[in-house]
Symmetry: C2
Subunit: 356 residues, 2 copies
Amino acid sequence: MKKHNFNAGPSILPQEVIENAAKAVLDFNGSGLSLLSISHRTKDFDAVMDQAIGLFHELLDIPENYKIIFLGGGASTQFFEVPANFLNTKAGYVNTGVWSKKAIKEAKRYGQVEVLATSEDKNFTYIPKGFAIPTDLDYLHITTNNTIYGTEYHEDIDSPVPVIADMSSDILSRPIDVKKYAMIYGGAQKNLAPAGVTFAIIREDMLDKIVRDLPTMVNYKTHTENNSMFNTPPVFPIYVLAETLKWAKNLGGVKELYRRNVEKATLLYDEIDRNPLFRGTTAKEDRSLMNICFVMSEGNEGLADAFMEFAKSKGMVGLKGHRLVGGFRASCYNALPKESVEALVACMQEFEKMHK
Amino acid sequence: MKKHNFNAGPSILPQEVIENAAKAVLDFNGSGLSLLSISHRTKDFDAVMDQAIGLFHELLDIPENYKIIFLGGGASTQFFEVPANFLNTKAGYVNTGVWSKKAIKEAKRYGQVEVLATSEDKNFTYIPKGFAIPTDLDYLHITTNNTIYGTEYHEDIDSPVPVIADMSSDILSRPIDVKKYAMIYGGAQKNLAPAGVTFAIIREDMLDKIVRDLPTMVNYKTHTENNSMFNTPPVFPIYVLAETLKWAKNLGGVKELYRRNVEKATLLYDEIDRNPLFRGTTAKEDRSLMNICFVMSEGNEGLADAFMEFAKSKGMVGLKGHRLVGGFRASCYNALPKESVEALVACMQEFEKMHK
């Protein structure tokens, strides 16, 4: 049976990328060696790194004064590395859920943290807006997509201070104005790569603001100055990331991915809104294109397990909602085909008929 | 032409492991999903993690009071995490080359560092022995195998203070007495896995000695208490690591790997010592089984490029010595078949005949 992969992360990657990755594991570029067994200091891998960086610049229209680096340790490591590098006296954070909270917790070790806005009052079902941004902050930190709750910023914030954004789960899903950010980072295991590589896009002037004496591996300059090759980088995940970017370019770039993502999300949200058995969990204007959360509607809560079983029987994978929200979460990342969303919608409609 | 992979790292992995990895990339465990697209919080991946930890315990006879964790960021990240966690007032380091030096540099941020012994006087061509170990150290740090210079400790040190060892390039290559170590760590991209995962084996009592308030991701307890699942671990590299451990077990375990490594190294060192065109670069008693360094003998220096070209023409890959040593380095990790060493020896002998 065909599987429909709605995993929240690590998550679905394009089939052709997976096939290329399997080939490269067996024989990389016809070298007679596995991609897993080559030195990272070779022309062939330099080319992969250059391609990953070049395509990132091209696809997101990243200006030349931004450096792109690839690291290990996940976004969770960035939660402390961001303030370690950039929090001199005071930073502002917006609290939109678990990942924001974790970032706030780590930042407090390095200086004063002002939580400028939070949606905790309604279990993070919306994105706070219209909050004031003090001008004396070292930076403002936001989480652009909240994987657990299914909320997402749909606009790039205007800010008088540098904006640093965790885009782990919506990078490359929609056009963004990179110039409005001082730094963008994220674990790559949703839209870009398998688990094991973290990306960071850093405006060069920020690198001159690193005031602390930091461990070599924590200092972003170590990596920007060595093209992510100060130490052995995660070769295979970076290769897959480069292949994913190639796939995205061939498809028509971020605009086309965004068009597809809107199309998929609209299909599913429309069904959630129409189908009397279900209801969405977030404010409509802040609905995520990536992580679509829904629960059984009032009075139908008892059908949750039955729906989950039914969906599984139809090949749906990874639909269980996070325990903090409950219900269901359909993660619809770039590589998820429209057919999978259509299959889920059909499943919801069939389930509705069964329970009339 | 068959390639003989002498890469220093990332380096050769067993062919059956590579084939299993390629299969898992296409379809993991017959799930219909790629290993790259599954959640790390699934029974199937739990089983991989359990297997990796279980086999590690079994193969190296690691007592139950040691925790095994898998991290990102490479050994370079451990260079600061070790002292961040364990350096309270003073630590001892042995300087056996570049990697030791890097570890020493990071440790100095956290306390007093005493370099108890160094082989810098002879470009790190030997392992210092018989040095005194003060009893007031928080720990003693050693680098058991020095990839660049081709030196290796052949005995587990007796120490009155906890020993912490970087075993990046010789883990699993020889039996060790784990009980003599408080912690063993390393990048896994030589004997265990592709680049992107770091292993750490930590005696439990050490975890009670963490005195600093550390960033969550830097504190080893975060990872020991969450079975390396506090955040998304590098799924694919951990899978390959588990497969490599399975391969090692099926082969007969560490004893058998050691027997093979001694056999391979003896073959090559014997030829280096016999062949008048070449000479070894390190003290014989400290020669590494993993990284075999040699140069052209006196008067034959001019033949270096010609030998490199000749070796390449015979399918040898990764033979170039590190720039700090020059000449040649044949890395003979666990997965390197004896046939590759035999091919190199034949190549050296043929080259000798050509230049008589």
